[in-house]
């Protein structure tokens, strides 16, 4: 019998440890809440360190996924992790990795953020898996996240396909006791794919491969029917049946401490197992679909005509169509469908205290972004309609009072490209503000566009020498920002560097004004170490 050790782990950590214990050879990622702790765990893990398992941060999610795919090509087991919007960046290799298939086990972990705790949207990664025709796993607990390391790699190698693991914030960032294995599996040996043709996605090869992928879907569904992570539970009360996926399973169970009285189908592996779904539908009058994120399963069940089995969920307002699930809104949904259970399900709670004021997040005291915004606002005062295009990072908080300094925040790198489009439209001044890590993630290519046309705009790279918002991971451009700009072709006369410090306020303001008056592209690197990482470095 194998030894088990109990550990207290975040969902992210459980998943990372599960992968390490299953013979992981490489972990790839770009930081993004709520996925960051996966790679961080691998970086600190003793087995990973002694085996030299790859765990360096990548420049962005696309490079990370391609690197992981390269490792899989060589027969070794790899994971790549990102937040949900990071999968947009990696969408090209993601979709095409189902076409090439995987050789060594490949897990693509995408962590969704319903309720947008730290994100721009609530997109649901499961759509991507179905779009790419790839199997997906959705753990409902930290233990399942751990177990899906071994299971996911085996599934990937059995199907010769990458496997998506869909996480959500409340699992990624929630700790629980997990039973873990003592002895990690050996890594795979270097070995090459049996069919090298399908790794060259030229049209002739792709057409052959795509037919195979379509034919494989029946296998994917069969494996979902047989999966230990998909379970049908009988129930004596047939007024409703509950189809529940991932972490939502816990909220349903929370409603029924003595066991769920309704037939229930728990889904943690996709594509949906049609026979199990049919069994649930046949055993009740109405199906309530409880899923975290967008109504992926519910849409599938309803279809376009929605004339079959009575389906309830997010599309008809039984459950809220935005924001994350919780024990309260799940209880309310069940109570709405089974009114005589209201008393049992809905408990009185105290009124919220009216005196409480909102406390939004803010830039830290001693943060260099503050000095940049103070100087930028002062420099822009003389213009009637300046526009500042922001980006993704702590400095997005510059939109809030007291700075109210940015006009847009869309996606990684969009500051530079939107400022360019605005300048093309005749906007002046057109200013982009971007952090160092975001710049190397997705800003460099857009900057090349502006360089090639010498677009009259000003790019401020607010360099805090780290990836700050996600907790201070190393930034891929540290020490190289000016060289990168020069290498891309920024004019040396209009590439400036200044320390973003309160005492440099007047100098920064003058510098900004000077470059606003230049009718071409300027890049100003304002630099000061993140106060959070500086404190940590001081302690060492």
């Amino acid at each position: 019998m194998t030894m088990k050790t109990k550990k207290l782990l975040l969902g992210d950590e459980a998943l990372a440890l599960g992968a390490i214990n299953a013979g992981l050879s490489g972990a790839y990622a770009y930081p993004g809440t709520p996925s960051t702790e996966i790679l961080e765990f691998v970086q600190c893990n003793d087995v990973a360190k002694s085996r030299g398992i790859h765990s360096h941060w990548s420049s962005n999610e696309k490079t990370a996924l391609e690197e992981a795919l390269g490792m899989s090509f060589c027969g070794k087991r790899a994971i790549v992790s990102m937040k949900h919007v990071g999968l947009n960046v990696a969408a090209d290799p993601f979709v095409n990795s189902a076409m090439t298939g995987a050789h060594g086990g490949l897990l693509v972990i995408s962590a969704d953020d319903p309720s947008m705790h730290s994100s721009q949207n609530e997109q649901d990664s499961r759509f991507y898996a179905s779009f790419a025709m790839m199997p997906a796993l959705e753990p409902s607990s930290q233990q399942e996240a751990y177990d899906m390391g071994t299971y996911g790699f085996s599934l990937s190698e059995e199907l010769h396909l990458p496997v998506m693991i869909r996480m959500v914030t409340r699992l990624a960032h929630s700790r629980a006791v997990v039973e873990t294995d003592e002895n990690p599996e050996n890594e795979n040996e270097l070995a090459y794919p049996a069919n090298p043709r399908q790794w060259v996605l030229m049209p002739g090869n792709s057409r052959v491969r795509y037919r195979e992928l379509i034919a494989q879907q029946a296998d994917l569904e069969r494996l979902s029917e047989e999966s230990k992570f998909n379970r049908f539970q009988e129930g004596s009360n047939r007024r409703i049946g509950i189809l529940v996926s991932g972490i939502a399973y816990n909220y349903v169970n929370e409603c029924f401490p003595d066991g769920c009285p309704f037939p229930l189908l728990k889904i943690s592996q996709y594509p949906l197992p049609r026979n199990m779904v049919a069994k649930l539908a046949d055993s009740c009058d109405m199906v309530l679909v409880v899923e975290e994120g967008q109504p992926v399963i519910e849409r599938g069940l309803r279809g376009l005509l929605d004339r079959g089995v009575s389906v309830r969920g997010k599309l008809d307002g039984t459950l809220p169509s935005s924001g994350e699930l919780n024990p309260d809104n799940v209880a309310a949904a069940i109570a709405a469908l089974v009114p005589d259970m209201k008393k049992q399900l809905l408990k009185a709670s105290p009124e919220p205290a009216k005196i409480v004021a909102p406390r939004p997040p803010a830039l830290c005291q001693g943060c260099g972004h503050r000095d940049v915004y103070a100087a930028l606002n002062a420099a822009l005062e003389e213009f009637p309609s300046p526009k500042v295009f922001g980006d993704i990072g702590c400095y997005t908080l510059g939109w809030l009072a007291p700075y109210n300094a940015i006009d847009t925040c869309v996606d990684m790198g969009a500051s530079i490209t939107m400022a360019k489009g605005a300048a093309d439209a005749g906007q002046h001044p057109s200013v982009a503000i971007i952090g160092d890590s975001t710049f190397t993630h997705s800003g460099m290519t857009g900057l090349l566009d502006a360089i090639n046309e010498n677009t009259p705009m000003t790019v401020i790279i607010s360099d805090n020498l780290t990836t700050g918002m996600t907790g201070g991971q190393e930034s891929q451009g540290t020490g190289k920002i000016e060289e990168i700009c020069l290498g891309l072709g920024v004019s040396p006369e209009h590439l400036m560097t200044i320390d973003s410090l309160p005492r440099n306020h007047a100098e920064m303001k003058t510098l900004f004004q000077q470059e606003f008056s230049y009718k071409g592209l300027s890049v100003i690197v304002s630099r000061r170490e993140c106060i959070q990482t500086a404190r940590r470095h001081a302690k060492k």
């Binding site: 975040l10 700790r175 006791v177 401490p257 939004p360 702590c394």
Partner: protein, 194 residues
């Protein structure tokens, strides 16, 4: 046993170390535990909340339902009030009374304290002062843990062992001063209950 705790505070105040210590203690006591944390943007000086559920039987949800929390444990008085709708009719609030003012419209502190103290089942005092008396102000979170520990059914020595584990890397002096803060908080709460 089953204790559902809402841990509250302002990003950067150190509520998560309380969760870590109780987690270590619960694991040693062979209890089930679930603890949902907040990472990312909200950690930057915004309100932060963590659900900590400890039980001798398996726990379903990572989040605590409204009206079900046994305890609100807060490092800041207004933050303790932000989550009162989660409190069960028999639940307790344990809170520091020192405000953390980083917003322009922070209400009058007396109004906040009055709102807090008019409720049943409240243990609230100046935990920064207690921490300063026996250790340093930075240990106020251990004073809070000490006060809250009087209402949590985990043996005190197991929580103290948790404190030892967490601070061991920072040296014996750090361990002792945090233990002193913990005991002072505990004593103060016990005194108050009588």
């Amino acid at each position: 046993m089953k204790t559902d705790i809402i841990l509250a505070g302002v990003g950067g105040q150190g509520i998560l170390s309380i969760a870590t210590i109780l987690g270590a203690a619960a694991l040693r006591d062979d209890l089930y535990l679930k603890q949902a944390e907040v990472h990312g943007m909200s950690q930057r000086g915004g309100d932060v909340m963590s659900c900590l559920r400890i039980s001798s039987t398996p726990i379903a949800s990572d989040l605590i339902p409204t009206g079900a929390a046994d305890l609100i444990v807060s490092l800041e008085p207004m933050e303790s009030l932000r989550y009162v709708q989660f409190l069960s009719p028999t639940g307790w609030i344990v809170s520091n009374t020192v405000p953390f003012v980083n917003i322009p419209d922070y209400p009058a502190i007396n109004d906040v304290i009055n709102e807090l103290e008019r409720r049943d089942n409240v243990i609230a005092f100046d935990m920064d002062a207690t921490a300063k008396e026996v250790a340093t102000q930075r240990s106020s979170n251990m004073v809070l843990l000490g006060a809250a520990s009087t209402l949590i059914d985990i043996p005190t020595e197991k929580i103290e062992n948790g404190i030892r584990t967490i601070f061991a890397a920072k040296g014996e002096k750090m361990v002792e001063s945090n233990l002193a803060a913990f005991r002072a908080g505990r004593l103060r709460a016990q005194h108050r209950e009588q």
